[in-house]
């Protein structure tokens, strides 16, 4: 269906060995080819999965991606460094600010820019709020796919509250593009701080409510326990990172191991799972939400202490000067003009990764000293998570496919870029 070649499914989608099924067994007949997607409620975006079924057992699983390939890496080369910020929001569109910050951090690493402390604190706050938003969607959509419809409404109701906070701070609910090289676009006002603090106070009770519905739930347990188990060695061989890796027992979190943006000053724990099944991945993400609340509270305290501090670096090669100076000073006007039309990064290459809600989100940027990149490669954790679907799904019953897809947690915006 995706190709111009065969619009029908009459020819086999797979090449499979004939001996894979015992033809003498009267219960086994032909293998059935089933196409799941690209439009499907449970595939979390436009993912197509070709499944070869022996009754209810999945014999062969092949994901097909690319239905949302928008040419982002090529767009970065065409648009230039500054204009690409807007496109980074739309990568993992559940956590737009996280992607902004990852991109900005890679460029800052290349150019050698230091972010002032208040800017770093605001970034941490935005990143943790984004992580909570993304995990809420994971919870809501995975639950509704498994039949727990109420969770969808509960988590979306919380997401709406975060949207209101971000709307007040950044001006838009999602795809905010609020990050600039050197910091963030504007400061957090005290009333926004107050609203965020009020929301943070009531959110842990909501997480308790989510857990009361799911964690001890027999049906949730049966659909997730011992399904889609990943050992630590498998995770590393399949290049998985993030909650998928941590649920298998590997203590790997970039915020702790290779801290950035001031994470070394925050006091938080990183949940680690035991056996790496879907249930463990769920438990890891729930606990990560609690720890994110903890980090946000500390970030707000630091913000309260540093009121009036700088939130944008002062480097006039990359950071726009304040508007009142632009209107009065010739030099600042020239800086503004240069940055807006032709902001160039120094020659070289750099890679910076952040711990996003799906795993390691990294940007590899190569510059030749001009305003347009030579290469901007986006290392998306979602692509690696999609790759692991056949590993977990083959040999299982078809109804486990939904648990596996939900628990691996990917977003097609970043898988396809």
């Amino acid at each position: 269906m995706s190709t111009g070649r065969s619009g029908t499914l009459s020819e086999s989608m797979f090449e499979y060995e004939p001996g894979v099924v015992d033809r003498d067994d009267p219960l086994h007949g032909e293998l059935m080819e089933l196409n799941m997607g690209p439009q499907h409620p449970a595939t979390h975006g436009v993912l197509r999965i070709k499944v070869l079924l022996d009754g209810e057992t999945m014999v062969k699983v092949e994901p097909v991606v690319g239905y949302l390939h928008r040419g982002k890496e090529k767009t970065c080369e065409s648009l230039g460094w500054r204009k690409f910020f807007v496109h980074t929001d739309r990568l993992d569109y559940l956590q737009p600010l996280m992607n902004n910050i990852a991109y900005a951090a890679a460029m800052e690493k290349l150019a050698g820019i230091q972010i002032p402390e208040r800017g770093q604190t605001i970034r941490v706050l935005l990143m943790e709020l984004s992580r909570i938003m993304a995990h809420l969607i994971y919870l809501g959509t995975t639950s509704i796919d498994l039949g727990a419809v109420t969770m969808f409404f509960f988590t979306f109701s919380e997401r709406e509250r975060i949207y209101t906070l971000l709307d007040a701070y950044t001006g838009h609910r999602m795809n905010n593009t609020y990050v600039r090289i050197g910091g963030v676009y504007a400061d957090v006002e005290p009333d926004v701080e107050r609203d965020i603090r009020a929301w943070l106070e009531q959110f842990p009770k909501k997480i308790d409510e989510f857990e009361s519905m799911l964690t001890g739930n027999r049906i949730w347990y049966d659909r997730n326990r011992n399904i889609g188990t990943l050992t630590a060695e498998q995770c590393k061989a399949w290049c998985l990172t993030g909650p998928n890796l941590r649920a298998s027992g590997v203590e790997w979190d970039l915020r702790k191991k290779q801290p950035y943006s001031g994470y070394e000053h925050y006091d938080f724990e990183v949940p680690i799972g035991e056996i790496g099944d879907c249930y463990d991945r769920y438990a890891v993400r729930i606990e990560e939400m609690r720890q994110s609340v903890r980090i946000c509270v500390q970030a707000l305290e630091r913000l309260a202490k540093s009121r009036g501090g700088e939130f944008l670096a002062d480097d006039r090669r990359y950071v726009l000067p304040p508007k009142d100076l632009v209107n009065t000073s010739m030099e600042e006007l020239i800086h503004q003009f240069k940055i807006v039309t032709d902001m160039a990064l120094p020659q070289g290459e750099a890679y910076h990764a952040v711990e996003s809600s799906k795993g390691e989100l990294g940007f590899y940027v190569v510059s030749d000293g001009t305003s347009h990149p030579v290469r901007c490669h986006i290392r998306a954790p979602g692509l690696v998570n999609v790759q692991a679907i056949p590993l977990l799904a083959e040999g299982r019953l078809f109804s486990d496919m939904v648990s596996i897809i939900g628990s691996l947690d990917f977003v097609m915006g970043e898988v396809d870029r």
Binding site: S2, P38, Q39, G71, Y93, M174
Partner: protein, 207 residues
């Protein structure tokens, strides 16, 4: 908005009874538009937020967001359509039974949005007829609800019984280009539907 002419421009002498039947059918249709959410990317999340508790399109009768196109009326294309996905989108549109409408939610589906690139369809009206375009990246759920209300007003202008009595059930079909110039259930053509797929192909096809 050029295609929304005032209702009396199509006044015919079909009579009171037929116009009242038209009103009744349109009332039923507009208050039970079941959406087919083709959530492709970020607009899909705002679409989910619209179906969610705060913006609740169930109040407008659009409760049953079935994912099977055979059971839906309105296809809300929310997100960026790529050429790889275009076949699937077209198949889904074709599977929807009449009467059906299409809402292009967001700038990506209206015009390609910020993606002027090698893989993105520059507006779903290159392959489908569209009734309402909703700009925004993503549009707020309020904006999409406004679009659905505008679609309701558009549906009020339709003349299903009049067309039936005139024997016009398939719309205007052009044998030359093998295309419909006017979809059957629409009183007036949608904005670009007669320009869809110009015979010489996509003008951007020349490299």
């Amino acid at each position: 908005m050029g295609s929304l002419k005032p209702a009396d421009a199509h006044a015919t002498d079909e009579g009171f009874f037929v116009t009242q039947l038209d009103w009744l059918v349109n009332w039923g249709r507009k208050n039970s538009m079941w959406p087919m959410p083709l959530g492709l990317s970020c607009c899909g999340i705002e679409l989910m937020a619209m179906i969610g508790p705060k913006f609740d399109i169930a109040r407008f009768g659009a409760e049953a967001a079935r994912f099977s196109p055979r059971q839906c009326d309105v296809m809300i294309v929310a997100g960026t359509l790529t050429w790889k996905m275009a076949e699937a989108a077209r198949l889904i549109y074709d599977q929807m039974p009449d009467p059906k409408w299409v809402v292009a939610m967001g700038v990506c589906s209206s015009s390609g949005g910020m993606y002027d690139s090698y893989s993105v369809v520059q507006g779903i009206d290159m392959i489908l007829p569209v009734d309402v375009y909703v700009p925004g990246c993503p549009p707020r759920p309020d904006a999409v609800i406004d679009a659905l209300m505008k679609l309701q007003k558009k549906i009020e202008r339709e003349r299903p019984f009049q067309l039936l009595l005139q024997g016009d059930v398939v719309g205007e079909y052009d044998q030359g280009t093998k295309r419909f110039l006017r979809a059957p259930n629409h009183a007036v053509p949608t904005t670009r539907s007669h320009e869809v797929l110009p015979p010489e192909g996509n003008p951007r096809s020349k490299a």
